[in-house]
Amino acid sequence: MAKSKSKSRAKAKEDVTTDNLGDRIFTTAKDTFGKQFKSVKQFLRGESEKLAITLRMIIEARIAGDVSEEEARILLNQQKIATSAVLTAAEGMSLIAVQSAINAALNVVRQFVNGKVGFSLL
């Protein structure tokens, strides 16, 4: 899998021309971002389900009298922090996706651009 990815990247690097420069940047960035963003979506979906389970558990335990009012309050406060942590992580992951997309695009055109200008611009 990793081998085929690096193969196609190497091929993309070879195929760069002045005419398709924008196209190469766009497709590399789009592919990398798409893959990463899929991971963010999967993470957010999985974690949302876990949060719902915990919330349901607090409600049921309070109704059954298995937790005191004070315990339920602390657990709910804690749950809010866990939720915000999941969203903070998802926000960070989205930034990583953007960063990876730009850097992957940069890698694909680096050799071509540097060769054309005659020095290490990128």
């Binding site: 990463q36 963010v40 004070e70 315990e71 866990a82 903070t88 930034l95 960063q99 695009a105």
Partner: protein, 178 residues
Amino acid sequence: MIAMPIIGRRAEWPRPHHRLLVLWLCAALLAAACSGIELVSRYDEATDSALTALQQKSDDFIESLEASAGTSDASFTKHEAFYDELDRDVRRLEFRVSSIPNNAHTTRLVAAVRQVLLGSGECSAEGTSLRDLHCLPANQATGPSPTALKSNRRNINQTIGAALNLELMKKQGLADSE
């Protein structure tokens, strides 16, 4: 001038919004210069290890507390040393993550880890942590109820897990951009 049919327009490449994206990417690439851009810090193995250790330590502790719930073995005073140790571990991690540039998200996540494990450090009925749950007046002698501990454990694992997921995504992101 004859207007182009819609089908013809659809076949155009790049489309107007794609051109904008390409322009934006070109500008970003120029700004990135030779080293690429860094919006989020690189993967840090020490952060990964410290978060994993914290998760294991707190999980083991909650498991043993759950097993002894309702007895004097689960009293708060018997476990105060554990909370002090946890405080020290979290403080070290806070120092580590705050000293890494572009690490705002992980720093916020470690602050959340502190909140769910130790809270503000004062026993509060309006608190947010395992420690707050343990030092409630009704729980000091024999510990929190097993049900409360189960739910608490999930919240803690979820919070530490979010921080770990982000750290591992940094590693993956780095590999994808190479």
